[in-house]
């Protein structure tokens, strides 16, 4: 048995690693500029008075990116093509990097594309230092806009159009002669891209090694010491927000799982013993209906009908967990909390309760068919002893394995329930951060739920081996 448990624990680790990689990959695919959100969404490209200001803005951006670790490569290695340089990750702004990748896919000559990229930036910067007057207002705006658009453009026709437009605009005024030179350099570098194009390089696969200094490694090692970074919304550490939310979710789930086991086992046994009677048939139908009732519908119905004075049944509070002031005795705290918890706990419990009772009934029925039960009855044991002493232990086995699937179901169920009843648990936190695109928070919650789920599976596997010693022998 010990080796079996050890084996289960050993599987736990790689599984968790794979989930972490998946979560990390999803977080990397998420849209939006994390650095900008972390900077407080201030418009870095707003009104600037010269290249010095712009430089300061860019510097703040880069500093924040460095603080968040975005200046590092994403993973231990990169599997891509020979045309993509191994230093592309240093371009931190994702839209610009994506566009460069697209250009590489089209033309395959990175040195020229890099030169072109720098030339666009140069036009943009130098333009800021040009002394402006009203005569060149239009041209200035046009060139600045086009330079911004060029960073995100890969279609040949559009780029050509914009380049010609910029060329014309910069030639219009003597004030812009410096810029005109830059624009011509830019045009030259774009022509060079097309002349020296080697798109076939895109078809040669290559692996680039980055070593341990990468974002995933950093993220995971911070994760292991409970440093999850800061939430984008309120700049609080994620860990402190999770610390507040987790107890509510755990409590909600544990109470309802405990309740459903406590009620389901007697129901299951009773309905198996009275199989065929009217009472048993009614129980079966009721359990089946409970099992199929969508939890969010039940919650909505409960809230609509028995938490408001609309239909004269204002019996329960509608939202939240109640106000608790300092210095209240624990009985008073319970008196405030319990009414808030009755409906949510009911909603999470009834589904698993129905499922468990059905399984328990099936388990007891199949055990009743066994020879040793007949033997126990034949030797004159009382029915109670037969059921509780002989049949129970073996019919518990399927119920215990269900624990593993119950926990994730309960977590998902609690997710919706927390949102509907506005309880401050993990589900509510995840939902709010999803809506405000606070990705570090979302993916931390996801990792936590996966961890809890795996833990549930592990516990149920171990329990399984304890209840049924035969398990350890096979395989």
């Amino acid at each position: 048995m010990f080796s079996y448990i050890l084996k289960r624990i050993l599987i736990f680790i790689p599984t968790m690693l794979i989930i972490s990689i998946l979560t990390f990959a999803l977080s990397k695919l998420s849209p939006g500029d994390s650095v900008r959100i972390a900077l407080g969404n201030q418009e870095a490209q707003g009104e600037t008075n010269g290249s010095a200001d712009k430089m300061a803005g860019e510097k703040a951006y880069l500093d924040m990116a460095e603080q968040l670790g975005f200046n590092l490569p994403s993973f231990y290695f990169l599997f891509s093509n020979a045309a993509t340089p191994d230093t592309l990750y240093r371009i931190i702004k994702k839209p610009e990097r994506d566009n460069l990748e697209r250009l590489i896919a089209q033309y395959g000559d990175w040195p020229e594309i890099e030169q072109y990229y720098h030339n666009i930036k140069k036009v943009d910067f130098n333009l800021l230092d040009v002394k402006k007057d009203s005569t060149i207002f239009d041209q200035d705006k046009l060139i600045r806009d086009d330079a911004g658009k060029l960073l995100l453009e890969y279609k040949d026709v559009t780029i050509q159009d914009m380049l010609t437009e910029m060329d014309k605009a910069s030639a219009a005024s003597p004030l812009l002669t410096g810029i005109h030179q830059d624009v011509q350099n830019l045009q030259a570098s774009y022509t060079a891209i097309k002349q020296k194009a080697t798109p076939s390089k895109n078809l040669i696969p290559s692996i680039k090694w980055y070593g341990l200094n990468n974002q995933y490694h950093r993220w995971l090692s911070h994760f292991l010491v409970l440093d999850f970074g800061i939430s984008y919304i309120d700049k609080r550490p994620i860990w402190s927000k999770i610390k507040e939310a987790l107890p509510w979710t755990l409590m909600l789930n544990l109470i309802s799982i405990l309740l459903s086991y406590l009620i389901a086992i007697p129901i299951g046994i009773h309905s198996a013993r009275t199989k065929g009677s009217i009472g048993e048939q009614v129980t079966t139908v009721v359990l089946f209906i409970l099992y199929s009732l969508p939890v969010f519908w039940v919650a909505t119905l409960l809230i609509t009908f028995i938490t408001t004075p609309e239909y004269g049944m204002d019996w329960f509070p509608t939202f939240g967990v109640g106000e608790v002031t300092d210095g209240m005795s624990w009985t008073d705290v319970l008196m405030v909390r319990i009414p808030h918890f009755i409906l949510p706990v009911f909603c999470i419990t009834y589904g698993s309760l129905a499922y468990l009772s059905r399984q328990m009934r099936g388990g007891v029925l199949s055990v009743f068919r066994q020879d040793y039960i007949r033997t126990a009855r034949a030797k004159g044991l009382s029915e109670g002893k037969v059921v509780w002493k002989h049949a129970l232990r073996n019919s518990l086995i399927p119920i215990i394995t269900i624990f593993a699937s119950l926990l994730p179901a309960a977590i998902s169920g609690a997710f919706i329930i927390e949102i509907i009843f506005s309880l401050p648990g993990m589900g509510k936190v995840a939902y709010l951060s999803l809506q405000s695109r606070d990705y570090p928070m979302v993916f931390t919650v996801m990792m936590f739920s996966a961890f809890l789920t795996l833990l549930g599976t592990l516990i149920s596997d171990i329990l399984y081996a304890v209840v049924d010693p035969r398990i350890s022998f096979d395989k």
Partner: protein
């Protein structure tokens, strides 16, 4: 006589037995009939509830606007200029035949907005125009929304389960048929497979990623074409080492045959996928999507649901593959793929139907909880879940709290009953 009957029973195929047993189960049978009805409603939603008339005469011309509308939706035809962007209710018809429910799910009845109860005095010209199940905040007809929501629910079930079935059948039959010691390859073939896999992924998907994403932006069919092309590239690259296998046997050591633990690999994959809470995974995938899309949600639900089917099929095949008729087929020298597809799969399919049936129930439930939360489904799309969510915070609108949720409940229940009926029909202990 008794002997003859016995013979008959022996000749009966497993599927026939299952159907016979299933028919004995009244709740399951009635669920199945109800399902057909719901399916028909889903298919003909446009013809039952529509703001356009079936038939009308207008300024001397006759039109069939409902049919024309379906044609326009499918991209087969266009509206004539005099009918594009008209308010169908206010036209001056000479003759007109309206559908059963003369409202589309998105029709805004401004006179009856802000939650008009079915029992309240409604501002409608005649009972023909009454909102029998009330309206929502924008004056949309609840009954029409429920009918059109059926289409969405059926689509969710069909699309997500097709995706899940494809993956589940593939992985389940691999793991179940081959087990841990049936698939034998030379060492070199295994090494070549591992080495070529990244290359296959590279040429089939990485190198074509822009082609694929551009095609997706254009149309689904273009995307499917390029996707199938990618799959072809992938499988032709992966076929190289496996076709070479028989020649590689001659090499010493590297050419030695070893068994591939297919079952362990697949089971571990299933275990990992199942340990991720699917609702949260769905939410985070949906969160990173650029714009909400029902199709995407359905496919993702399918991607998270195949493990159940694969697990079921695996268990079934592990049992079936040691039966005599499989051994007989092997002795006859049939190729493996033929034994899997022609001989073992048909006998395991009934059990797959069980997990499909439960799977559809849970897919519909998942989609409606997502649209209830307002995540992933476009806001203008009317689904049962999105209608139900309108009831939150509006306690007086009992009709919105009750009816859409009741639909979800009924649909989920009938799929569960069918699944139950199939399980009982397959259980040998119940067979006399």
């Amino acid at each position: 006589m008794a002997k003859e009957k016995n013979k008959e029973e022996k000749a009966e195929t497993l599927n026939a037995i299952v159907i016979r047993q299933f028919k004995k189960n009244k709740p399951a049978l009635w669920s199945f009939r109800l399902l057909i009805l719901i399916f028909l409603i889903g298919l003909s939603a446009d013809f039952i509830a529509n703001e356009k008339p079936y038939y009308c005469e207008l300024n001397g011309h006759t039109y069939f606007p409902v049919f024309r509308g379906v044609g326009v939706d499918w991209g087969l035809t266009n509206w004539p200029p005099e009918l594009s962007n008209v308010n169908w209710r206010d036209l001056n018809y000479q003759k007109v035949v309206w559908p059963l429910v003369p409202y589309s799910p998105t029709t805004l009845d401004i006179k009856n907005k802000d939650y008009v109860s079915p029992s309240a005095q409604q501002d409608v010209p005649s009972p023909r125009w009454k909102h029998y199940l009330g309206t929502d905040n924008l004056g949309r007809d609840v009954l029409s929304g429920m009918i059109h929501g059926t289409t969405v629910a059926m689509m969710v079930g069909v699309v997500s389960m097709s995706v899940a079935l494809l993956l589940g059948l593939f992985f389940g039959s691999l793991a179940g048929y081959y087990g841990d010691n049936r698939l034998k390859m030379t060492r070199l073939t295994i090494i070549l497979n591992v080495v070529l896999l990244p290359f296959a992924i590279f040429y089939a998907f990485s190198a074509r990623s822009y082609t694929l994403s551009d095609a997706l932006a254009l149309s689904v069919w273009k995307f499917l074409f390029h996707f199938v092309l990618s799959l072809l590239i992938f499988s032709s690259i992966m076929a190289i080492p496996n076709l070479l296998d028989r020649f590689l046997k001659k090499i010493p050591y590297l050419g030695a045959q070893v068994s591939v633990p297919v079952d362990i690999l697949v089971s571990r994959l299933i275990e990992i996928l199942e340990s991720i809470p699917s609702l949260l995974l769905l939410l985070s995938i949906v969160a990173i999507m650029d714009k909400p899309s029902l199709m995407m949600v359905m496919v993702i639900i399918g991607l998270t649901r195949w493990t159940g089917i694969a697990r079921y099929l695996r268990g079934e095949l592990l049992r079936v593959r040691s039966l005599e008729y499989v051994e007989a087929a092997q002795a006859l020298g049939y190729p493996e793929w033929r034994i899997i597809i022609r001989h073992t799969l048909p006998n395991s399919l009934t059990s797959v139907l069980i997990s499909v049936s439960f799977g559809i129930a849970s897919a519909i439930l998942t989609e409606s909880s997502l649209s209830f939360l307002g995540i992933g489904v476009p806001p203008e799309q009317v689904t049962w879940g999105s209608m139900l969510s309108l009831a939150r915070g509006v306690p007086q609108a009992w009709w919105i709290a009750i009816f859409p949720g009741f639909n979800i409940f009924i649909t989920v229940t009938i799929f569960n009953l069918i699944g139950d009926g199939l399980t009982e029909a397959l259980d040998p202990r119940l067979k006399q």
